[in-house]
Symmetry: C2
Subunit: 479 residues, 2 copies
């Protein structure tokens, strides 16, 4: 196996991360053809390459949700304004972000309707209808949908006025059941998906009261470090206590025939994970997609062809062979476009492995293999390719995860004082005893745009509550 | 193989179809737990059992769309009002049905935004941006989304203010390409899915000018006959000519460097197909789901168990064995609920095959098998079940299709005059030479609530245009 180290240095198509990270992000969105801004402020267009990644995220998350016993359903986009008002904290939290329909079918509506910012209220109404007895519990529902939260400082994928997500909504007989399920979703669905598929190490913990979902008694979260050291909240799972059960009369008859209020949860992940994917793994050459997520794991490039088209024919056979061993491979036979441009484009799009093939390679019975996670090229015997690629993809999956984890470890500081924590959070995460923070500490951090991302236990676990002793606060700047 | 003909007559849980078909439909929606009305007029809640069927529809249609070369993307829910006004017929057609957002983030919006009723306009804007040269064509896009059309006479799944659908949007270099692609979608995606998976025979033809999509130069349609003899439009594919290309400047440089306008198409199927499924195959006992669509193809019912739980154990093994041969099987071990109620419930839900198992059956090494498409029960050796079920499902798939086809044939009349056609359409479809209709004929039919569903060629094919000679008009009442 010969190894060439002919670099892949060309004029950069992206602003380097170190120069201007937000601009690098915007460049990746444009140049890798991931997304455009929509015509209405804060909305976005998800282009096919990015949407294929979102579809893969949906498939993987959906399978885990179904394994956790929840069933998909669909609830209306439009919610009567009065529904939101039934839960005081909820309406207070969401009012400033609502889009309101006042005209329908050419007429002023008698009661304006809100475009759902989230669906606790409308789903609560139907839970109340469907749940009669303890036999109907737990009721485990999920929906994939678009939601709208009017956004004053939009940023594609991270904060958009409309985004796509799943929202789970469950009702349970006891507080303990509800708590266990909210944690199960965080752990078996979100953390597992993010670590195993997205290759993003996440910290799981609880939010401090000020950062809870509007209407929740406890919010669990997955937080990840991006390449610039900032935190991104990747997904949350909420215990709603009996707040919504009270507001919507979600009750049941227990085994003794007594009426009881349910305990509910809600939990969601969104297209925001696309932003996390880009910012956790991207480098100065573009996106880097972990193989388990990639819609295209391997692109087979015809460098140029001979008159008989034998290179394209050989490339097509390789795509077939790779497909036969379960690899998602794609052919690029656009020989009329310069090879360099195509190679750069696949690099920008972050396809994990590039296989290059020209007339000379076909004659020699070999191909050139380029991994997206490291510089350099390797020649491999053509008949060994289908056997080696799955191994290579596994290794790449691990390497992206380990690189992200190493960065997080490197850029996480143990701080003893608020001042130390505020300083360290300029460049990454700081860990500080929760006892040492207090209201004054939160205020001091806020002055530096630093927030408590989550509380964790001393051994890195998810606490039962914010009142547990010896909790660690992880603080950082965030998206 | 013994055959018992112990009937399954019980007190009817549904209004019989013959008594009141619309009420039967409403009963099925409620009793089979398919859907509820949403709180905002005309909206619906799709419950888990129905949503699982919709997910199967999405998977099957999506795979065919991808085979036809289109890629999925996502465009915003909100469209500036001004966009719709750029295409005169389009805005005229959709204005009466629009939902308009006038308040966002607590403020009156400067320009109101429309909740998409369909996305030709916003997608047109981006096609114009993305298409530069003939090399970018054809551009084949699709999106799965919710759309809103304010509905004055809503009917769950058939006409709702919000519904789920896919909308394909493509741009081509020539009129011929656009036409061929619109027909390909109709044939290879819609007709194939409806006939092969939904087991619903559909007539494919062209709409008369009055029934075209607002902004189209030609609309192709799939029309099916429901159990009451009425027609349901199941899906449409439109040639949009250069109307939207003109309105949104969708143009390209051809091989000679000359600027040319594109030709576009759009096409869609929606949750309306759920209504078609119910009304094409349902009977007085409930829904009947064709096996290729069914999320649950076989339910294995534990009639009652012994103290050791050996019946449940045997049933669980059967579910596993069926799963191993690729059958989607589900266990019903809720022995605390009366068996009769569970059997009726699965019948209501239309699960193709029911396998019943009690202590006696386990002792005898047999199970009782009930097909949803015909009365009676059969005993089968337990070790033969996994081998026989796939054959049985195939036979059931065919039988549902053939039954629907036989009904359509029976209830389709060849009419020579408008009067004859108007009379026949009271009970089914009438075929009449298009030449014999004319404007007066259309008006006469309208008086009986009968419309031209589509025009077909003499041999049942899809005409190239409404001006072809010797066309047949298929007329009917419709949903």
């Amino acid at each position: 196996m010969a190894s060439e180290t002919s670099g892949r240095r060309r004029a950069p198509v992206l602003t380097p991360q170190a120069d201007d990270f937000p601009r690098w992000y915007q460049d990746v969105l444009n140049k890798a053809e991931l997304a455009d801004n929509g015509p209405v402020r804060g909305t976005m267009v998800i282009r096919p390459y990015a949407y294929a990644l979102w579809e893969r995220m949906v498939d993987e998350v959906d399978a885990r949700i179904k394994d956790a016993g929840a069933e998909n359903a669909y609830f209306p986009l439009f919610i009567p304004e009065s529904y939101l008002q039934r839960e005081a904290e909820h309406v207070e939290g969401f009012s400033p972000e609502l889009a309101v329909v006042t005209v329908g079918g050419g007429k002023e509506l008698e009661e304006p309707v809100v475009v759902r910012p989230t669906s606790e209220t409308v789903i609560g109404e139907f839970m109340a209808k469907w749940i009669q007895s303890y036999r109907d519990l737990p009721l485990l529902l999920n929906q994939w949908a678009n939601v709208v939260r009017w956004e004053l400082r939009p940023r594609t994928f991270l904060r958009t006025s409309e985004f796509l997500w799943q929202e789970g909504h469950t009702a349970h007989a006891t507080e303990g059941d509800a708590r266990a399920y909210a944690r199960r979703i965080l752990d078996e669905v979100y953390r597992d998906f993010m670590v195993e598929v997205l290759a993003i190490p996440v910290l799981c913990g609880v939010k401090i009261p000020q950062e809870r979902f509007a209407g929740a008694i406890n919010t669990l979260t997955c937080e990840a470090m991006m390449a610039d050291g900032k935190a991104l909240q990747m997904g949350t799972s909420h215990e709603l206590g009996q707040n919504f059960a009270t507001a919507f009369d979600i009750d049941y008859l227990d085994e003794t025939g007594a009426q009881q209020l349910c305990w509910t949860t809600s939990w969601g992940v969104s297209t925001r994970m696309m932003g996390g994917l880009i910012m956790a793994h991207g480098d100065d050459d573009g996106l880097r997609v972990p193989p388990r997520l990639a819609a295209v794991q391997v692109v087979v490039l015809v460098v140029r062809d001979d008159d008989e088209g034998s290179v394209t024919a050989a490339a097509r056979r390789l795509v077939q062979e790779l497909g036969d061993v379960g690899v998602r491979a794609r052919l690029d036979d656009r020989v009329s476009t310069p090879f360099g441009r195509r190679a750069t484009d696949w690099e920008l799009k972050g396809v994990p492995v590039r296989v290059e093939l020209g007339p000379r390679d076909v004659a020699d019975g070999q191909v050139v293999v380029v991994r997206r996670d490291r510089p350099g090229k390797e020649s491999i015997r053509v008949d060994a390719l289908a056997g080696q690629v799955p191994v290579l993809l596994d290794s790449l999956q691990r390497s992206l995860h380990d690189e992200a984890l190493a960065r997080r470890d490197e850029r996480t500081v143990d701080a003893a004082t608020i001042e130390e924590a505020a300083g360290a959070a300029a460049d990454g995460f700081a860990r500080i005893p929760w006892d040492a923070v207090g209201d004054a500490g939160i205020e001091r951090l806020a002055a530096e745009a630093v927030t408590v991302r989550c509380l964790i236990t001393a051994d890195g676990g998810v606490p039962d509550s914010v009142d547990d002793p010896d909790l660690i606060a992880v603080v950082a700047r965030s998206y």
